[in-house]
Amino acid sequence: MDQKLARILPKVQKPARYVGGEYNAVIKDKAAVDFRVAFCFPDTYEIGMSNLGMRILYGVMNNMEGVWCERVFAPWGDMEAALREEHIPLYALESGDRVRDFDIVAFSVGYEMAYPAILNMLELSGIPLHSADRGGLAPIVIAGGTAMYNAEPLADFIDLACIGEGEEELVELLTLCRRAKAEGWDKGRLLREACHIEGIYVPSLYEVRYHEDGTVAAITPKDGAPERVRKRIVQDMDSAHFPVKSIVPSTEIVHDRVTLELFRGCIRGCRFCQAGYVYRPVRCRSKEKLAEYGAAACADSGYQEMTLSSLSTSDYPDLVELCDALEDYCGPHHVTLSLPSLRADNFSMALTERMAKGRKAGLTFAPEAGTQRLRDAINKNLTEKDLMESLTRAFSNGWSAVKLYYMLGLPTETDEDIIGIAEMADHVVHCWREHASNKARGVRITVSTSWFVPKPFTAFQWEPQISREEYERRVKLLREHMTARAVTYNWHDGDTSFLEAVLARGDRRLGRVLERAFEKGAHLDAWQDYFDLGRWLKAFDECGLDPAFYANRERGREEIFPWSVISCGVGDEYLWRERERCYASQTTPDCRTRCSGCGANKMVGGTCDV
């Protein structure tokens, strides 16, 4: 290990995050590989190592002969300061080699607030921030992940974005890059070739012109780049890579367990939910494969906790059979199985009770809105009756902690809807009083509200985020009506949600703002410890841009979105129709009940796996 590094590690918090060497970390012989990928996660080790996508793609890339993929995470503030003071450039955990010497520097970006960390990691690596200032063939800086459905705020910095699921796309991209390296192409040629791989978006090959009012006038492809970049998906989940042999961190991380991904996509169609639209169409893994993977992953890792993962676990067609099969392994091996993302219905409650085996940890539900009218408008298919039935059952069986999640500022929300949240909480308290099996233990009911952030590729992509003043008024209104003593009310900090709304639907002019904010000290802004909206507002001011233009403006049907080159498989016509149904408080049935024609089925040959 580097001697300078050895001297700073004893001084920083949790040094095990910065040294690698974990069980199942992939070590390859440098002489036997010709292509090196630094897989960067723009957040801390604990967050990044918990990310399933990171684990999958680490496995996929390292399965390629001649390729070595290593991990890099954002250092916490104390480590960053020490690295800067000692002039130690950012390094990859497996080899300890400098990130700037890699062929590809790849960022996994799930969240807009991670953007500053990307710039910070590039700077800590000694890599020029701007794509245009990196003339050579290496490193090529790429980014993927859900946030890249609108990659525009990063357009100046990244060389290309991988849209959609990376399993196949990355293999094709790496193969092309290796050819470019072997044949000595220049970077321009590589990018012009790469843009023809399905799912690859090269921002520099598109010229954006703006109207006087700041909206996009036209996006013109150059050098033969495609008009539309369609997201990439894995067709068959059973043949897709599952990380059975996965790194087990030697220090505690956020999700320290085996994660079993049941299916991708969601049949529900909640109108605010970006994941629900962009992960379509629904594709399931077979229960046999899942049972096999679950047991193998527990045996290999030594984890004694497994969680089922998907956007809506109750919707997995063979859930009971799968749980039976997993129980056969988990029971005798003392592995606890947890099922998050369950719906509030009788079937799910029965399953929860079975899995809990006496442990009565809290229950969590996300009604999202306080009245049936608003839940219909956002197509959140949960009724108060279902919720109360589930809770009646839970309280009478000994549960005594419930968390309820809502959003404030949803389109069409009125004061009645807000007060409805408080009323619902009162009904929950009442339900507990009626049915609790042991009142002496008391009850903990937590209501949390966040500030709704409209995202691209949702039915609400045209919607303004409500103003700051209005958000604060609604929080105050809810606080005034939240009178029950058993209820704790938490509300989300407004600063982060506002900036998230700006960046989520931003255009590439925000690149300058991002860079300014970074220069002013925005580094790990996904963390409240470091986030400061003031820096960003100053940056906007200096760049002559108005954040409200991005966050708080209603966009017209004809407006060209900054992300309109990208296609997620669900058409704008469909999303607009969904928006109109919202205003009419009309629900759309789930995909299993009836196909509503979103268009995603075309990506899997016409029939979804519902």
Binding site: K14, V19, G21, E22, Y23, S250, T251, G302
Partner: protein, 220 residues
């Protein structure tokens, strides 16, 4: 059912794994190796395993001892090889046996404290350090159980100190009391920094070499 004592090394990157994280890591290592560790009875069963002498983060060792109990009989001689593919980098299973001696018979720890001087070791340091550490009193700052910083004399816990001078570092080979009360060998370097500030090292490393009983034989 077996009671087992594992001797292992913790070096390199593994030296940054904390005590609690290492406990968690070993629980998983045993599962990977297909072993079933005995758990305590009760509502929250916990695995029956304990480190004989916990090691500070950042220090290295070739003499760590882990006591644990397994549900089935195990072949001690074969255990190091069985654990090897299941361990993180830097942890090596060295040897394993059925413990014959209780932990209370462990009395001394032999460690190597390496004091690094980037500008070279100031002349006379070896002798000054010996004189300090083997003198009347060696007062250092220590945090007590109430989290207050207090002065304590560690001289009674220092058994032997030998020095060896190299170009850019001074090696202290020391035998200190291991427990009841024990002393962290890093405190010897802390004493140097406090009482001989002109000879304060730029960096120190601590490496555990051997655990000893009251007669100076290896404790295993």
């Amino acid at each position: 059912m077996s009671k087992v004592r594992l001797c292992f090394a913790k070096e390199g990157v593994a030296s940054y794994i904390s005590h609690l994280d290492l406990l968690r890591t070993f629980q998983r290592v045993f599962i990977r190796a297909g072993m079933v560790i005995r758990h305590s009875a009760g509502f929250h069963p916990h695995p029956m395993m304990s480190f004989v002498l916990p090691l500070s983060v950042g220090q290295t060792s070739v003499c760590e001892l882990l006591d644990f109990e397994t549900e089935e009989e195990i072949d001690c001689a074969a255990l190091p090889a069985r654990l090897a593919p299941c361990l993180p980098l830097g942890v090596r299973a060295l040897e394993c046996h059925v413990p014959e001696r209780p932990v209370r018979e462990l009395q001394y720890l032999q460690a190597l404290v390496s004091m690094e001087y980037d500008g070279g070791v100031p002349s006379g340091t070896a002798e000054a350090v010996r004189r300090l550490l083997l003198g009347e009193q060696v007062v250092v700052e220590k945090r007590n159980k109430r989290k207050q910083i207090v002065d304590v004399d560690i001289r009674p816990m220092i058994h032997t100190v030998e020095t060896e001078e190299r170009e850019r570092f001074l090696l202290l080979r020391t035998v200190v009391q291991a427990q009841n009360p024990g002393v962290n060998p890093a405190l010897l370097a802390a004493a140097v920094s406090r009482h001989l500030p002109e000879r304060a090292p730029d960096f120190i490393r601590v490496h555990r070499e051997r655990l000893l009983d009251g007669d100076g034989s290896v404790f295993r």
